[in-house]
């Protein structure tokens, strides 16, 4: 096997060469570990990873949709909406936390399913369909909560999801890695995964090969919904409450993580592990600036610039080929 002959150093160089953003990520880490004393402390590392957990889990769903050549802009609204449903069931209706959590995830899946139907059967462009869905979900969330925060002692029972530890490792970090391992296997070892790449690469060829393209697309949107719903549960656990706007902050980082991670906007191309790295990268940007004591007002400028540089490097490399 040729690939096994290469030594680790060559492999690492190859991975960096393929993904310009990883180089910037590494430089950023080196910079932070030299300029701050706290960045590489395990406590801070776990803080970063914990912050990355929700974004990166929801980003798996977004990534699957984008591998098909689509885009789900409702994922953050879906996350917030499912969170509200779950919290409200627990607080207002006394539903047992396990059941409420399950419903929370299922609601996400159901919304994803509807997205899938709109995209395949009604034939609406995925960006437009999910944009509509996002608006509806945000509206319903606002109407239902009346802009108030839903909070109650029942939520303590799910707090462990975001604040608990197994040994020294926070539970959300463990969940994050479990999800990534599962979906790595799904994408690389299963027929389902092979067909996601196939459809994203050439929908017509896949259809001609007898693949039920619509059914698979609906399934992907549904899975994305489940993941978003689970993200909502984690966010509810982290906040210990639910608000109508609880999903809003996630849209930008989710999309950025997936695109930065190198998923082609036209579909069919990209690796899931890069999405994870990109999601963690995003969190180190904010984390690093806090550690550096950069003013909140300047943080937006810096994080935007770092992203643009990382993406440019990627595209320039790509163009050179």
């Amino acid at each position: 096997m040729q690939s096994q002959k290469k030594n680790t150093r060559q492999k690492i160089l190859e991975i960096i060469g393929e993904n310009g953003f990883i180089l910037i990520f590494i430089l950023w880490i080196i910079f932070l570990s030299l300029t701050t004393t706290t960045f590489l402390k395990s406590q801070n590392v776990f803080t970063v990873l914990r912050q990355a957990a929700i974004v990166s889990i929801a980003a798996i769903g977004e990534m699957l949709v984008m591998l098909l050549g689509g885009m789900d802009v409702s994922i953050a609204a879906l996350l917030g909406f499912s969170g509200i449903v779950g919290v409200s069931l627990m607080v207002n209706y006394g539903v047992p936390p396990l059941l409420a959590g399950l419903v929370c995830v299922l609601v996400g899946g159901l919304i994803g399913f509807i997205n899938g139907i709109l995209v395949t059967k009604v034939r609406i462009n995925s960006v437009i369909a999910t944009l509509g869905m996002m608006t509806v979900l945000n509206g319903v969330a606002l109407a239902y909560t009346q802009g108030k925060t839903i909070v109650g002692p029942q939520l303590d029972t799910i707090a462990f999801l975001s604040r608990g530890y197994i040994g020294p490792i926070p539970i959300p970090v463990i969940l994050m890695f479990i999800f990534y391992i599962i979906f790595y296997l799904v994408l690389n070892k299963t027929v389902f995964g092979a067909r996601i790449y196939a459809i994203g690469n050439n929908e017509k060829a896949s259809w001609l090969a007898g693949i039920k393209v619509d059914r698979l697309k609906i399934l992907v949107f549904t899975v994305a919904g489940f993941l978003g719903g689970f993200g909502g549960l984690l966010q509810a656990s982290r906040q210990g409450s639910a608000t109508s706007s609880m999903g809003n902050e996630f849209l930008f980082p989710i999309l950025t993580a997936v695109i930065l991670g190198g998923i082609s906007l036209s579909g069919g191309k990209g690796k899931i592990q890069n999405t994870l790295i990109a999601a963690i990268f995003l969190m180190t940007i904010t984390n690093g600036m806090v550690l550096l004591g950069i003013s909140l007002y300047v943080q937006g400028i810096v994080s935007g610039l770092i992203l643009i540089i990382a993406l440019s490097l990627d595209r320039l490399r790509y163009r050179k080929r």
Partner: protein, 504 residues
Amino acid sequence: MTTILSLKHISRAFPGVRALDDISLDVGQGTIHALVGANGAGKSTLIKILSGALAPDAGEMTFRGALYAPEDPSKAIRVGVSTIYQEFNLLTLRTVTANINLGKEPERFGILNEQVGRKRASDALARLGASTIPLEATVGDLKVSEKQIIEIAKALVSKCALLIMDEPTAALNESEINSLFRIIQDLKKQDVTILYVSHRLKEIFALADVVSVLRDGKMVLTAPVTEVTPDSLINSMTGRKITGAFPEKYTVLEKEVLRVENLCSPMAFEDINFSIHRGEVIGITGLAGSGKVELGKALIGDFPIQSGQIYLRGAPFKPSPSRAKEAQFGYMPEDRKKEGILEELSVQRNISLPSLPDLSRFPGFIQFNKERDLARQEVDELDIKTPSLNQLVRNLSGGNQQKVSLAKWLATGSEILLLIEPTQGIDVGVKFEIYKLIHKLSSQGKSIILVSSELSEIISLAHSIIVLFNGRIQAELSGDQTSEEEILQYIFGQIKKEKSHEER
């Protein structure tokens, strides 16, 4: 011999067109059955009906003795009818293995069995004598001929008994065509029936057992190949007599319009020098990968140039499509569908597109009557067959689309025309019309750069011929004093001809 596929009284109409009119056809098992016909004869419609992409309005088909009425292409594939279209349906980003197994991936409980997948793929490739293609290669990186083999391998894995091939040699060079023929003969020995759709008569005589001719939606002839001649086939395809003779070339005028000096481009071509005069047709030919297409594209700014200079009417020219347009330098690209026409726009708008600034009044309102007149003029001039100027170009036949791709540049009054493979995938009837057109344009003093793999067309049309080999000029020949045999020697790099010193 048993009949594997039988068509009885198949008809299909589209608004305004009767594409297929009462077609009956029997295809014998294990034969190579060729299907020929002029543009718009109904070949594409027939292929679509056979492959399940289209349903007939009337008539009945049987396949292996059972009623055959596939609802969609995947059903057709399942019963053993696979179609390889001119435009491949491949996953260009995926591996050879993934492509060959697409849609029928070996699995257990949804988990891919990669070993079985690789085995199947390598078996299929071995059957095609193509074990050299690496299973892990990305299909987009393969050569066209290899991609075609992948398509055939896909069909084998789905156990096809009837393989329909639509113009399979359109993008292949001579040696690739020969190996494809070997593959097809092998498949025949393995009892796979081939329906071979082509416009290249030479291939039909080399390959087919039986030939059927479609004309204007009717099946006008089905006969063993031994009982027909090229002339008789052309006659039944066109219903009129076409002689193989080309019109005589016009004399070239003295004035130089375009000169290329020491043009180099990384990986494609090196040290290219030539010039072209008013009314001259210059032919550029070579094998696939010789750099001929890249050279053509570079002239118009569609391929990067590293060094060297191009002069247009004596002034340095930095290639770009917009500057070329200003300099009345028009370009008919190789990939008609992707680059030459806008399928979803009307014939009128396709023709007028580069001329729109001249057809509009301040501050940019299009004068539709002028646009219509211009389009009408070109449609008449080039004899483009379209029911109306508002017809979408994607509804035209390939040859007429090609004419539209050229018409838009003629409409802007282009003086220099770059044509890349202008007759690729076009049937003989329209091909000859395009030859006549090139000839006429030359007589009007227009200069034409003709990049083509078809030697007969280069020899008959071009005043001078440049043969490229491995990116370098292997020979410069005069169109009047050369032969296909001579060009072939240069094309394969067997001998090299230094630039002749005689002045024009």
